[in-house]
Amino acid sequence: MSILATKAPAHSSRLAPSLSARAKALLTSGTGIIIVLYIILYGLYSIWDPTALTADTVLNLTNNAVPLAIAAAGQTLIVLSRGFDLSVAGVISLTNVIMAAYPLDGPMGAVESLAICLAIGGVVGLINGFLVAVLRLQSIAATLATMIICQGLSLVILDAPGGTVADFISYDLTDVLFGVVPISGLFVAAVVLLWLLCRRTAFGTGLYVVGADETAAHLSGINVKRVRILSFVIGGMLYGLAGFMLSAQTATGNPNAGASFLMLTFAAVALGGTSLSGGRGSVIASIIGAATLMLLQKVLFAGGVSSFYTGIFQGVVLVLAVVFGNVVTHFVERRGAS
């Protein structure tokens, strides 16, 4: 235990100065791989289901994928700084039941609901950030506790599935703009835009550095606590937004609505090539990873796989995607080295 406990960060060697360029190449390749995978799956889908290329199907696919995509985007921020956030399930359930129990109609109502959802997520994120960054609890343990508390509060507000979400939110936000652009997709586009801006700020850079090597981050003057707290707060707000979009889609409340998101967000993050040990990855790749997961279900259904065995295919695709990513990364790294 004595010498061996010296926990040298395994990839500190990657922090050489010339590395930012290579890291960039890796990032683009991670995103590139998942885009290729998505296109392949969509190709299969269009072979098996002739309606795959209609605007209706695209709208359905987008609406299905948006809540998971936004939640996965939030999870990515925490994973990048080397943490796990289980509270995603709690926040989504909590915002969902609040939307169903206290519907606010009309466009202004939608804005108010959105503000409430973001505020709930932000507060939960702030608590998580405080527990992890200041009180130094392990992120997985602290967020497990906040997740359980949020689940409990959801049950207090709504003890059984029911309630209805405001009509404006459930109809207009799942519709299309100008006949082709899914409105829910615009929310994802906004998240992507914010991420692109965010990545250029001190916080965005800090996120990667803290995730790669916290000690080095601290020594180079990064306010580690601030980065961590901010990542949990923004992540939490994104879960709030995901809960908002989920409510728009399901139009009803369910105190367990978020439970299925727990594993799926991590699957989406990993599918997008983000390292679960921090420091490497991209929000955009996670969003496409989430879309891929949702598309996969449709493809398997269209391909006529018995619903008993869809799990086998999902598992195999998950593994193959990561192996494929590893192989490509390996070659890119080799080319970069020579």
Partner: protein
């Protein structure tokens, strides 16, 4: 316990130096207490307080019967958390736990008929099947370098789906007598499961703390590269860890089948997060390299005691869940390393 390391060089030396500066006072006795021991004592202490305090909730609680119930209900979690703890020790995470619990239970009830005498050879056979599935996870992690999180999630999904397909959605059969006896019989007045858990605890902690394999796991978790350089067969050790975890989950499934005298396809679902929580509450780092099985058992008993006490409170389910989460949070805060450092200073005076 912290994943946010203090600034300075690597963690352990920094912590040790901190301890040395703190130890100007005479602490020859207290310094011998390892953090793992303190955590274990604290977790068990909180559990005992909780059970004693539960008399205020309901007069039926806090009795010897209540303790027996807690140990019976915690036994499944203890067995699962043993495997989960080993995988977390090497810096991994096993998400295939629920699927393997289900598989263990389903195979037990569908293959071993209650009347046939084949239960003795079939139990190890089923454990071997589970271990092989764990081996697939282990191979994925070591050879294909797939993150443990994804690999075990994938084997979990695949196994669960296979169990669903095998049983066509409705598991049949009953548990063999040997398993019902394990869960329900008693021997000279002592429940068999209590004896089993004590034996399991001793074997488990000897494996983790006293054998060379256990020390190898700690070394790998602390730093896989250093462990490799030091001549440890990292791949094999990791592979065996996943196999052990899968076999442990499979055995927990058998125990559940024996307890409920049947299997369901969702019987494992409630054990994933608690198994991770038990390990983490027991003070193990989720990043690997530290922890003890005794403290993990304490974590499992604490979680189970908590849920038995809370379910007796006459308030709506939602508030009960909120209280459960809050108590877990308070326990985590009490079990922080800073608290121990504080206690250590106090004891040293």
């Amino acid at each position: 316990m912290t994943e946010t390391h203090p600034p300075g060089a690597t963690v352990a030396p920094a912590r040790r130096a901190q301890r040395q500066t703190e130890s100007i006072a005479d602490n020859r006795r207290t310094a011998r207490l390892r953090p793992e021991t303190i955590t274990a004592v604290c977790v068990f202490g909180i559990s005992i307080l909780l059970v004693l305090g539960s008399r205020f909730v309901s007069p039926a609680l806090g009795s010897w019967d209540h303790v027996n119930t807690i140990i019976l209900l915690a036994s499944f979690l203890i067995v699962v958390a043993f495997g989960q703890g080993i995988v977390i020790m090497i810096g991994g995470l096993d998400l295939s736990v629920p699927a393997l619990i289900t598989l263990g239970g389903v195979l037990t009830t569908s293959w071993i008929d209650a009347s046939s005498g084949m239960s003795l050879p079939l139990i190890p056979a089923i454990l071997l099947i589970c271990a092989c599935i764990g081996g697939i996870s282990g191979l994925g992690v070591t050879l294909l370098r797939i993150p443990p999180f994804i690999m075990t999630m994938a084997t979990g999904i695949i196994t669960a789906s296979a169990a669903l397909g095998l049983t066509s959605g409705t598991p049949r059969g009953t548990a063999p007598p040997i398993l019902t006896a394990l869960m329900k019989a008693s021997w000279i007045g002592i429940p068999v499961i209590l004896l089993f858990i004590v034996a399991f605890a001793i074997l488990g902690s000897v494996l983790q703390g006293r054998t060379s394999y256990g020390r190898r796991l700690t070394a790998i978790g602390a730093n896989p590269v250093a462990a490799h350089v030091a001549g440890i067969a990292v791949r094999n050790s990791v592979l065996i860890a996943y196999m052990l975890s899968a076999a442990a989950s499979g055995f927990a499934g058998m125990m559940l089948a024996g307890y409920a005298n049947g299997a369901t396809l969702r019987m494992g679902d409630d054990y994933l997060l608690p198994s991770i929580a038990a390990v983490v509450i027991g003070g193990s780092s989720i990043l690997g390299g530290s922890g003890s099985f005794v403290a993990t058992i304490g974590g499992a008993i604490l979680l189970t005691a908590l849920s038995t006490v809370i379910s007796a409170i006459g308030i709506p389910q939602g508030w009960r869940t909120v209280i459960e989460g809050s108590i877990i949070l308070i326990a985590l805060l009490l079990l922080r390393e800073n608290t121990f450092a504080f206690l250590r200073r106090r004891l040293a005076r």
